[in-house]
Amino acid sequence: MKLIKKGAEASLYLTKWHDRKVIMKVRLPKKYRPPELDERIRTYRTAHEPQLMHEAKMAGVPTPIIFLVDMNKATITMEYVEGQQVKKLIDTLSMDEGKKLCEKIGGLIGNLHQHGVIHGDLTTSNMILTRKGKIFLVDFGLGEKNTELEAKGVDLHLMKRALQSTHYEIAEECFRSVLFGYSSVVGNEKTREVMEKIREIEQRGRYVAERQEKA
């Protein structure tokens, strides 16, 4: 078993399962949290993640195949998806290629939202581009089933925030393309609604310049 990523929320191991290359996602106990709270969070996320990945597939969004879920050990065994993390890839692309990729991502988010799936952590490190050009979404641990506009707005707002902190130079262009791709799936009307919602969510934050300008 080889540790390939030690995240804050879970550790990812690359291993073999019935001669297949698989990823084991282990949510180890967090010592900083009280045990009751920790167990509640880890079990909840371990149970929900595979369900949401399944829902995402039904919505036409590629996600790794789930092989095994072990609730006691808070471990999910899933397909190892070979490809490049969008996080690392995006900065190497030309403006046009980058925009196309972001549009495609936006389309996938549109598919999810149309089927009431909220990803909950839309960062470029949770997206993998395969050699065949498919984009896989991973890490649904913070996601939920929700059809409300509010949830969709927060989901996209978080994507925007993640772009701003990691891909500061291209964040705006990229997010515009994401919304463009999103609208091609859900339509202009719904995209306008969700954009309006995003603005509302942003203004709830304390230090947002837009709020001052409006006032």
């Binding site: 804050a8 900083y32 009751e36 960062t123 978080l158 934050g205 304390r206 230090y207 001052q212």
Partner: protein, 360 residues
């Protein structure tokens, strides 16, 4: 995809700048900083080398409820001359010895910010020395780095008005996590007031809550809301307050549960930022930094990630003038001086919008 230009500043251009400015003696160069973003009015004095030679302040304590911006501003204007005098006396210098004036330009409460800005402008104009506008959140990080010897940390800044996880990347402090609604200190304070806890001399509401929480035994289920890199505390506050008014549980248990939930949430997002940025230091600052339980949670994650954990000493973790003075020095050395007529306050000045050319 295209790259933006990053602003940097080296020591060479400082020298040039200082040659032009009004420098009396090479030995004593002082910056006076005025802080007035919220309930504290503070005046600090720093030398150009980062020796803090004075840090005076006066806090506004509301008779009931939270901070009333106008009342706080009135308090600031009433104590301004006294605090200023106290700082100068402590530093053993005269106003004429000052080389620059820095002030907290935002973010914060309008009336409070304007009071501090007025004091700073008056001083700079009267003494005819440069004025520097400082971002309050950045000042918290810079004084923290100075006082703890931290170089390039992931900073968790938690206070009554702020809950930010931030780290330097590419010319600016970037936000790797923040609250989607209310701040951590705000959440704890409001709950403490709802529970009837009172401000005591030298003991903020948060400390009273911490004491009660230490007596808590039973974890009451409350919302735990982490959304991606961000978190939300308003639901937690509502749930805790509702439970309080229903008299369902011991107050100690509620305080304990509220703290455990809220602190676990900020710790999770901090750990996430640490894993994401792969930095080797964690810096904890702001008014809530004094909480021992929060400190212990962060110690655990820093050990797991092989990072060094530092807490900013209380005097410099809460709002203070010294941090503004020191950040003023850094900004001044990079030529970031503002004319008085352009020195309006910025109530919602996001940390991500400010260039920090002195950070390498």
């Amino acid at each position: 995809m295209h790259r933006l230009q990053i602003k940097t500043c080296t020591l060479e251009n400082n020298e040039k700048l200082e040659g032009n400015a009004l420098m009396k003696t090479a030995a004593g160069k002082y910056c006076l900083g005025v802080e007035s973003t919220a309930d504290d009015f503070g005046v600090g004095i720093s030398t150009f080398e980062g020796d803090i030679i004075a840090n005076a302040s006066s806090g506004y304590i509301p008779e009931e409820g939270g901070i009333h911006p106008r009342e706080a501003a009135r308090h600031h204007s009433e104590v301004a001359d006294k605090v200023l005098q106290e700082a100068l006396t402590k530093a053993e210098i005269k106003p004429r010895d000052l080389n620059i004036i820095a002030f907290s330009q935002g973010p914060g409460l309008g009336p409070c910010l304007r009071t501090g800005a007025t004091v700073a402008r008056a001083l700079a104009s009267y003494l005819n020395i440069p004025l520097v506008g400082v971002n309050h959140s950045i000042a918290h990080i810079e004084i923290g780095k100075l006082k703890t010897g931290t170089k390039d940390p992931v900073t968790l800044y938690v206070s009554g008005g702020n809950t930010i996880v931030t780290a330097y990347a590419y010319g600016r402090y970037r936000i790797f996590g923040e609250t989607l609604d209310i701040a951590l200190g705000n959440c704890l304070d409001v709950f403490a007031r709802e529970a009837g806890l009172k401000h005591k001399k030298g003991m903020p509401l948060g400390a009273a809550l911490e004491q009660l929480a230490a007596e808590g035994r039973k974890l009451i289920p409350l919302p735990y809301v982490v959304k991606g890199m961000d978190l939300s505390l308003s639901g937690l506050l509502t749930a805790a307050t509702t439970s309080l008014h229903k008299y369902e549980s011991r107050l100690e248990d509620l305080c304990y549960s509220l703290q455990e939930n809220a602190f676990s949430m900020v710790t999770e997002v901090t750990e996430r930022a640490l894993a994401h940025t792969e930095k080797r230091e964690i810096l904890l600052t702001g008014g809530v930094a004094a909480n021992k339980r929060l400190q212990s949670m962060l110690t655990i994650i820093s050990e797991e990630h092989d990072a060094r954990f530092s807490v900013v000493p209380k005097e410099f973790a809460t709002d203070n003038g010294a941090m503004i003075a020191w950040t003023g020095v850094l900004a001044y050395k990079c030529g970031m001086v503002i004319p008085v007529e352009e020195s309006f306050v910025k109530l919602r000045w996001r940390i991500e919008k400010v260039d920090v050319p002195w950070v390498k």
